[in-house]
Symmetry: C2
Subunit: 199 residues, 2 copies
């Protein structure tokens, strides 16, 4: 019997360990893992086809309704074109089989897909500072500044390209505080995915 396709999307505060957790979830479930870097690569490879852009006509949210009345080929900024190419890459990747996708508003891109579990990971500032200092080789005060700046950047990106607000519990299937550690948070996501989608 063919296994049911399912996708886990993960949004995360900077330094919360979201990427590590996503990788761990993918490992436990033995499915591919995509982060920003891999999505950007996938988007570059495919580019932005006419067919893809045409399909955005139907969307009613602020970003799409804002850009779609115009000739996108001319009027879109590079950032917007990259977003649309990634949007398309996420759709294709998600349709092709089970996977974990971290970042890039994947929860929003796939919001109409019934086989998705959308996850948001946060953690207290102290916990994130420790992680950032450990993994990015950044010192104390600079770690805090980096966290604040990166979270602002992620929130702006998400709030600009979707009609939702980043980090609001109601947008996601499950939000977790990762101060219980990477392993336990990954396990909680796996447990919830099995519970929700019966996979």
């Amino acid at each position: 019997m063919e296994k049911k396709r399912f996708v886990i999307t993960i949004g995360r505060q900077f330094g919360s360990g979201g990427r590590f957790i996503g990788r761990k979830v993918a490992e436990i479930l033995d499915i591919p893992f995509y982060d920003n870097e891999l999505l950007t690569k996938a988007a570059e490879e495919s580019g932005l086809s006419e067919a893809v852009l045409d399909s955005y006509d139907e969307r009613k949210d602020s970003f799409f309704s804002g850009v779609m009345p115009y000739n996108y080929g001319i009027d879109l900024s590079l950032g917007q074109k990259v977003f649309l190419a990634q949007f398309d890459a996420i759709k294709r990747i998600a349709a092709s089989g089970s996977c974990v996708i971290v970042g890039r508003c994947a929860d929003y891109v796939l919001e109409e897909d019934q086989n998705v579990v959308s996850v948001y990971i946060s953690a207290p500032l102290d916990y994130r500072m420790k992680r950032v200092i450990q993994y990015y080789d950044i010192k104390d005060q600079k770690a805090k500044d980096t966290i604040i700046r990166m979270d602002k950047k992620r929130a702006s990106y998400y709030n600009y390209y979707t009609d939702l607000k980043w980090g609001r519990a109601k947008n996601y299937d499950i939000c977790l505080n990762s101060d219980i550690g990477v392993e336990k948070t990954a396990k909680a996501i796996v447990d919830f995915t099995k519970l929700k989608l019966d996979v």
Copy 2:
């Protein structure tokens, strides 16, 4: 061996089934359940002692720092006195043994308690409308109005009495979308509590 004490607090959007879910969690774990009504009763029975009020001096958040420079006995509104009495009741109830507490900013009251799992429950508007129509005998448009009004009331109450924002994922250990149903949401909370607190 004596069992470890633990407390599960539940904040919830109106109509999300949070109270039903809390009751189910308490049933599964065989521990007492407290909702607004029971907390109000507990607070009325105990009243507001001098000792209780003295202890709030140490708190630094907006509500407490706003009221504490004054003579609270004279300057507090009835609403504020009720809040403080409930605050005290939640502290006592939580200290006395494992339980589930729904509402009344219990997550905030117990934020320094290490044996707490704080939960927030949300659900899509359509799902909540169905529940409100079914359980509160309210008709369509009125159900929507009631949900919006009640959520505003809960957000105002929470944002006034705490220094946090209601419904922001980062304030809670786990946030769940209850459109998977009462049973599954309760199971997810029980699973997570066991995972986090090893109970």
